[in-house]
Amino acid sequence: MLRLLQIEFIKLWNNRASKVLILSYFILMILIAGISMIKVDFGPLKFHIADVGIFNFPYIWHFNTFMAAFLKVFLAIVIVSMIANEYSNKTIKQNLIDGLSKKELILSKFLTIGVFSLASTVFIFLISLFLGLIYSDFNEFSIIFSDLEYLAAYFIKLIGFFSFCFFVGILVKRSAFALGFLFIWFIGAEIIPYTYLASKYSKELADNVTSFFPFGSMWSTITEPFSRLNVIKSAAQQVGEDITRDYSVQPLQLVIVLCWTAIFIYLSYALLKKRDL
């Protein structure tokens, strides 16, 4: 297993484009911490972002994992090109001739996806812990380490997303086309059906149905955290709207994402096995 990771590491780390993207991904995550520095000073509106309460434990786990998940698009480029480059350089063929089995090839890529997701999860954990310890109003041990399931959801969300990217990379074999495919899928197979269902029937039905779709299921792992903020809540109440939502992580949602992950990885393997190189 270590050998497979080392193989993938050599390939990625010697590629300048991948290296830059990986590094900028983690740097961008650090920049999230920079949000805390923002002090809005706009006439009568004067407040410090950190004072709104987004850095309070355990809310910070929810907020940070939700926000950081958007950055995964950067790593998606790395994942897609990691497999598409093997096709365009024909090194996938040479790897197999040199004695790597097709199973090992898929496994080495999947392990890398796992490592990326894990590293990102650990990173967001450390950043949130750090920010929380500085700004949070509550610092009891039991409160700090409550609601950690958001981190698990974050991890699974990333694994699922990267597996999808990986599968599309194998399917399309060209990075640019694969990214285009993902985008078209996002719009055509997820957003449009959602809007259709929501307009024709109800928002609830649309939510329920799309939570089984690849992107939809990943999106539903972590609910939006904004309406949970007191500031927003009270603002909503003033206009007569009462927001009551379940913000917790739904285990069923995680299972759906894991199912997609298994499907994507299995399909990648089946495709590689069936194809003549």
Binding site: R3, N15, N95, L96, D276
Partner: protein
């Protein structure tokens, strides 16, 4: 003798096209084999199948008597197919380190193999800066990293300049001299003739011949003759049942042999018949002529 590769009734179909048809042959340790055939005769497809990158339609193959599975076997094989495939953004050494990881061999051989192919002074240059000849030599170095039991080369001199071709052939000779089994696919007949002891000849996916190069005789050879009196010579040969296809080519009379006759016997007989020769050569067809003969016979 130890069997390295055994191919049995291998068939590969691409839709309606049959690229390899019911092919069987065996590779024994210690010989230098050539797979010979015109472009599109199924050489690369056959190699692709035994190297685990092309799926077979039917038939079977086994490495090392089937004692280990294909991908484990390939770690004991060194192979390059068509064009050298490496990571363009990595240096020669980085690429070879990766191959070592895949083949699970020690990295200590990298310098030695780079020296063998004459790339030691460029070892830290990126692969994309190499010329085609250098890329091909790097591929050979990479295939040798595990000191393979068999080295498989598919058209190794394709697209190279004369100097590059010469370098590759010299390297192949050195490797063959070290006792490594070699399987060389080529459409260049003299290349196969120069290096190989055994040959498998393919045409449209079918095997026409497999065996030793020197036993690949399709006829008993032919005589090239010239005499003072060519007319008499011609009529003598045409009447003799041991000769066929007697013809005149650029002043020489050529007669194919149907049975084994040695040159002095023929000379004596002609002399007794009052025909004095000024030119007498007994020859066998070159590999190229034999190859053309074989492929022609099959197409009729």
């Amino acid at each position: 003798m130890k069997t390295i590769l055994k191919v049995q009734n291998l068939t590969k179909k691409y839709g309606y096209l049959t690229a390899v048809k019911d092919l069987s042959f065996t590779i024994e340790k210690g010989n230098v084999y050539g797979i010979l055939g015109p472009n599109g005769s199924g050489k690369s497809t056959t190699l692709g199948i035994v190297l685990n990158v092309v799926n077979k339609t039917s038939g079977d193959f086994s490495w090392f008597d089937g004692s280990i599975n294909t991908h484990q076997s390939l770690k004991r094989v060194g192979a390059i197919i068509e064009r050298p495939n490496f990571y363009p953004y990595m240096t020669a050494v980085q690429n070879l380190k990766l191959v070592c990881k895949i083949k699970e061999v020690d990295e200590s051989k990298i310098e030695e193999k780079l020296e063998l192919v004459g790339l030691l002074d460029r070892k830290n240059s990126k692969f994309k800066t190499y010329s085609l000849g250098m890329k091909q030599r790097l591929a050979i170095a990479s295939a040798l990293l595990n000191d393979p039991e068999i080295l498989i080369l598919d058209e190794p001199t394709n697209g190279l300049d004369p100097q590059g071709i010469h370098q590759i052939r010299e390297i192949i000779k050195i490797i063959a001299a070290q006792g490594t089994t070699i399987l060389l696919a080529s459409h260049l007949l003299d290349e196969v003739e120069k290096v190989c002891s055994h040959v498998v000849i393919l045409r449209k996916g079918e095997k026409l011949y497999s065996g030793r190069v020197d036993e690949m005789i399709v006829s008993h050879g032919f005589f090239e003759l010239k005499a003072e009196n060519n007319e008499a010579l011609l009529s003598f040969l045409k009447l003799n049942p041991n000769f066929s296809n007697v013809r005149e080519e650029s002043g020489l009379i050529i007669a194919d042999l149907k049975a084994e006759i040695n040159a002095s016997e023929l000379n004596k007989e002609l002399y007794n018949n009052g025909i004095i020769l000024s030119h007498l050569v007994k020859r066998k067809e070159s590999l190229e002529e034999q190859f053309l003969e074989l492929t022609k016979n099959q197409s009729n």
